[in-house]
Amino acid sequence: MDFVCINDMLRDDELRSILSRLDNDKDKERFGLVCKRWLYLQSTERKKLSIRAGPHMLRKIAARFSRLVELDLSQSVSRSFYPGVTDSDLAVIADGFKSLKVLNLQNCKGIADTGMVSIGCGLSSLQSLDVSYCRKLTDKGLSAVAEGCHDLRSLHLAGCRFVTDGLLQAISKNCCNLEELVLQGCTNISDVGITDLVNGCRNITFLDINKCSNIGDTGIFSVSKACSASLKTLKLLDCYKVGDESLFSLAEFCKNLETLVIGGCRDISDESLKSLAAACKSSLKKLRMDWCLNISDSSMSCILTQCRNLEALDIGCCEQVTDAAFEGLGEIELSLKFLMVNCPKVTVAGIGMLLDRCTSLEYLDVRSCPHVTKVGCEEAGLQFPQCCKVNFLGSLNEMDVF
């Protein structure tokens, strides 16, 4: 009688089916130890890796895990090993991981345009790239990525200060599926670039242009109109040229807006904020409007009474806001979880009125309120919700809410 080896009879897809039923990582590793064929099956099943490796190791990893979809090489802010990821490492990656869709290179400060060109030429399936704080990168390298990776959905370029409108034009031409774009700190970009961008990219859901101080009403109008159905998050921190016109256009076109950061947009006034509150009353969840010195009680009251799904609100240094903004809330239950009320005129009475309506409050920041102190709140008999942290002194960690 001939013996039949079970390994010869089982096909690859049957073995993969067995592998998929192993939920323990250790068991999956043991699977790979059986023979070279089983090792190949186990390695090519692996979808995601977070690694720190030099070029030699990278080649070996690329050879073994050839079907990797997600690769995380991000470094810490204070570089923990020298030299970190280099352009030649990126060439190895571009050559070896052809199925890669997600690549994280945050804080890999050693990489430059040459590496980006490799990525653009080699990884045509790439959907998500994070090169935040890779400060050497310029339009040249990043345009090569845009031109090579047509299916790009998410691009993070925070701190890449050499980026200009030219790159936005390249993205507009090549990456029409783009949904998420972070340009925080890319101070050279202007309204022209943003308008070009949304001409081609009409499905943007997340746009972060914090600290891009050249952006103004023209640019935001273009964004509102082009991405009206898709836009959910818009961050405009310290874009001081952004004013009422921007808010009016957001109110007119963007009914799905969930997160809006307009802190430091000093020219914004009550009328436009009221129109935004009315337009986005069911969608708005997070609103950061600290340092908006022209905002007064009338629009503040509108925001609180109309935006029922609002979970996070920052009105720090809105110097005209008084306790009157929190009157007349009636019996409405506010969904607020994070509340930063560092306004010089707000007193314990105002905080009390807010607390009556905010039963889900998790964090309250009043550290810069001259009239709101721990002692004052205790004397007034204020009841804070069970799990609520209250910051009276500024000694707690900053919440990364927006």
């Binding site: 310290d238 001081y240 430091g264 340092w291 720090g316 240094c317 810069s368 500024g394």
Partner: protein
């Protein structure tokens, strides 16, 4: 900072912990409670306190006091955010009071 040797450094007046480089001075025209102060592009071996909004002579800013990482002495402050355009150049930079820092062997 691998290139400390050969650089003109400042240190904490109390414990001589190195905190900044002379080459990193952006401006010498700042005023603190104890007198003159210098604006540095960055400083080392310092600890930042909590961020606060303050109305300074030059307008509204978010600042954080900075302390020597060894002895805890207040050395100055760091500008986190500036309200006025003309003051934005200070963001991320550190003011160290002249009274609190000494030249380290030069």
């Amino acid at each position: 900072m691998a290139d400390l040797v050969g650089n003109r450094m400042y240190s904490c007046y109390k414990c001589r912990n190195l905190v900044s480089r002379h080459d990193d001075i952006v401006s010498k025209g700042f005023q603190a409670t104890s007198g003159r102060a210098f604006l540095f592009s960055h400083a080392i071996n310092i600890v930042e306190g909590p961020k606060e909004n303050r109305h300074l002579i030059t307008g509204l800013h978010t600042v954080a006091d900075v302390f020597c990482s060894d002895c805890g002495e207040t050395l100055g402050w760091k500008y986190e955010r500036a309200y006025d355009e003309s003051q934005k150049y200070k963001e991320g930079k550190v003011v160290l009071e002249n009274f609190k820092i000494v030249k380290e062997n030069w």
